[in-house]
């Protein structure tokens, strides 16, 4: 079982994610540079946070044109679990793998703070260990994290149960307080908050158990027990 962490020029949470996948959850993990392809034997793909291409033009848009995205798309179609965190979420959205856009926060500032998520869909490969509406203390750190979709898409999201996480209170002006969504099949999940910053008790001032379930869900899904 193998997890791929995709690295773009300017990714900066790739090492954090790698640490969590390998040292905390003992998953066999490998980095993949954006100009490379993904091998066939990958069981899950993570697009980590950061500032791919310096967030120029719009967060995620340039990376969405990287060669590796073609392979990510193929894997998404095959139903392989794919998680985009922060900039990874922005890239998934810009490449059309997830609906919606991420706009500048209402505060117009970069925001780094701890907040609470509510699990709205516990059927995805990254949330299957949660109870519905379970609360997750977790940090956000982004400048363009305000989720937006047009009304029709919002209806579809709700109908298809594509809203995965919501903030427990208004944080940045996101539509419906959405913090994370999935594709129609549920295997591609994007979220603005950083689970990799919340799974170790050393650095989680509240409770590291809930966010750990994001990775435990993946392990459950792809069948690796630690």
């Amino acid at each position: 079982m193998k997890v791929g962490v995709v690295v773009f020029p300017g990714s900066n949470c790739d090492r954090d994610m790698y640490h969590v996948l390998t040292d905390v959850f003992h998953l066999d993990t490998e980095y993949f540079w954006h100009e490379k392809g993904l091998p066939k034997n990958i069981d899950a793909v993570v697009l980590p946070g950061g500032f791919s291409y310096g967030d120029r033009l719009r967060a995620g848009v340039i990376a969405a044109h990287s060669p590796i995205i073609k392979d990510v798309r193929k894997m998404a179609e095959k139903g392989i679990p794919i998680l985009g965190v922060c900039n990874g979420f922005q890239i998934l959205v810009e490449s059309g793998l997830l609906p919606g856009v991420l706009l500048k926060n209402e505060s117009l500032n970069f925001m780094c703070e701890w907040t609470n998520l509510i699990v709205e869909n516990n059927k995805t490969p990254f949330t299957n260990q949660f109870k519905l509406h379970e609360k997750i203390p977790i940090p956000i750190a982004n400048g363009e994290g305000r989720y937006y979709v047009d009304d029709d898409t919002m209806k579809k999201l709700k109908k298809n149960n594509q809203i995965v996480f919501r903030y427990s209170k208004i944080v940045n002006g996101s539509a419906n307080r959405i913090a994370g969504v999935c594709n129609e099949d549920g295997n591609v999940v994007g979220m603005m908050p950083h689970p990799e910053r919340a799974v170790e008790s050393d650095i989680n001032p509240v409770d590291n158990k809930p966010s750990s379930k994001i990775f435990e869900s993946l392990i459950k899904k792809i069948g690796v027990e630690n």
Binding site: V101, K104, L108
Partner: protein
């Protein structure tokens, strides 16, 4: 072949909020003495230099780039393409 300057203006579609424009208006302009301003909208501009055989090709080429490469996000923004001869 001639060189053209093409200005691409990316701005929010009508109906999409523009917190930055609102903030500049409310927190800066209207707080001061300039009460005759009633609206501010922000936009981003990209000025392309391109070599094409004529103005029309330059225009359509840039429009194509904008659509293909998602220079703007069609869900929230629109672009205006203006071509100037060099």
């Amino acid at each position: 072949m001639a060189t053209f300057n093409v200005h691409v203006t990316i701005e929010n579609k009508p109906g999409i909020s523009d917190p930055e424009g609102d903030t500049i208006l409310n927190d800066l302009v209207l707080k001061g003495t300039h009460k005759t301003v009633s609206k501010i909208k922000t936009a981003k501009m990209l000025k392309f230099t391109i070599k094409e055989k004529d103005k029309k090709t330059a225009q359509s080429k840039i429009q194509e780039i904008c659509d293909d490469l998602r220079i703007y996000n069609p869900m929230v923004s629109k672009v205006t393409v203006d071509v100037f001869e060099n």
